[in-house]
Subunit: 239 residues, 2 copies
């Protein structure tokens, strides 16, 4: 088996710890606007609306909408449930937009920057995320993630696990699927990529959903690499 | 006037010296395959077929084709003119593909890496080139160009100076055109971007077409910045 040329990365959960970061942003937002709630639970609920919101795009119930827009709709729904008045006489658009961009300000897991720096020496590092380009670019700029290319859902105009999200990313890189290795903390994502010919690396993120996480605690299939961190992944790939 | 958030870069001629680099690759290719010609002139002729090849896509004479494919067609035409036999009994596809990827191996002008490193501290640096994603990614990897995003023609599926190449790049960055500054060594490119609301920076590349260059020797319009190099551009923008 020849070497892969590019590593394509899932981002939310695999590269960044969205839960802790969104909760941190929520606490600051709450303080600024006098809103009290359990912000970790809020982060979980916000994330809970992620798959349903993409499903409506995948199923053709609505035209293409980028993740920033889906996140914002979910945010407004959750703030409404908390009794927060939005718009005139209440929270204005700028405040909502700013909190929505919490997803642009997620912190990487502690092993990520070092791991990516090593992996970048040998491989093309591309994102293959459902996050839109601006979100991933702004996150990378803030966190120091040295991607060679930001691809995935928005440029493919479809959400993982739909095949075109993977296939168009490989195509834009000028590579066959077998020349790409999908890196993710989620079995479903890796299974979808593998079915299309991608190689696969499972990186365990046992705290993505907090201490009581039940899913994705281990690789459920015979993926090419199983690693505990990006440093471990670099070790496994010999870079 | 508020600051731009992103700088969007033309690449061929502005960032990299395609003429010297393609001629260098040509000499190596010629040596390998016993083909003798003036490789600087060959580079000029190859580049000469660039605009006509894109025009056929722009005019709808043919469906979308990425620049690697247009480059390859032009290359085969030029090799044919030299009497080189292609295909069976002659030069094989791998040899043609490898020379075609000369455009992935272009050297930057000497001021580029230092200039980009400074500019990256404050701005999102995105390519807005007619080059396809793989071409720009491979070039950046080899030359150490630290783009935050590789966008432009292929993701917009249209070639500059058509408006969507600029507008879709800004949209993918989540920015209004006025938040983007187009950086180019070509007056036409900057005029097209400015007509859409982009800010503009002209960087003079008086040797792009060699010592006898006649066009683009000076900024022909009142662009926001006029610079002699990327270092000069960084100075002008105060970073």
């Amino acid at each position: 088996m020849s070497e892969p040329v590019a590593l394509t990365f899932d981002v939310f959960g695999t590269v960044v710890d969205w839960r802790t970061s969104v909760a941190r942003e929520g606490r600051a937002f709450g303080k600024r606007h006098g809103i009290e709630t359990d912000w970790v639970r809020f982060a979980d609920e916000w994330r809970g609306l992620y798959q349903p919101s993409m499903s409506r795009v995948r199923d053709g119930e609505r035209p293409w909408a980028k993740l920033d827009d889906l996140h914002r709709e979910s945010l407004c729904e959750l703030l409404g449930r908390l009794g927060v008045v939005l718009g005139e006489g209440g929270l204005d658009d700028d405040a909502i937009d700013d909190f929505n961009r919490a997803w642009h300000r997620l912190d990487p897991w502690p092993d990520v920057v070092e791991g990516l720096t090593r992996l970048k020496r040998r491989y093309v590092l591309a994102t293959l995320s459902n996050g839109n380009v601006a979100l991933i670019v702004n996150m990378a700029k803030r966190a120091g993630l040295a991607w060679d290319a930001v691809l995935g859902a928005e440029v493919a105009r479809c959400y993982k696990p739909q095949p075109d999200a993977y296939l168009k990313t490989a195509e834009l890189l000028g590579l066959a699927p077998r020349e790409c290795m999908m890196v993710a903390a989620h079995n479903d994502d890796l299974r979808a990529a593998r079915a299309l010919g991608f190689r696969t690396a499972f990186v365990r993120r046992a705290l993505e959903y907090g201490p009581n996480q039940t899913g994705d605690l281990r690789a459920e299939d015979d993926f090419d690499v199983v690693a505990e961190s990006f440093i471990d992944l670099a070790d496994a790939l010999g870079v």
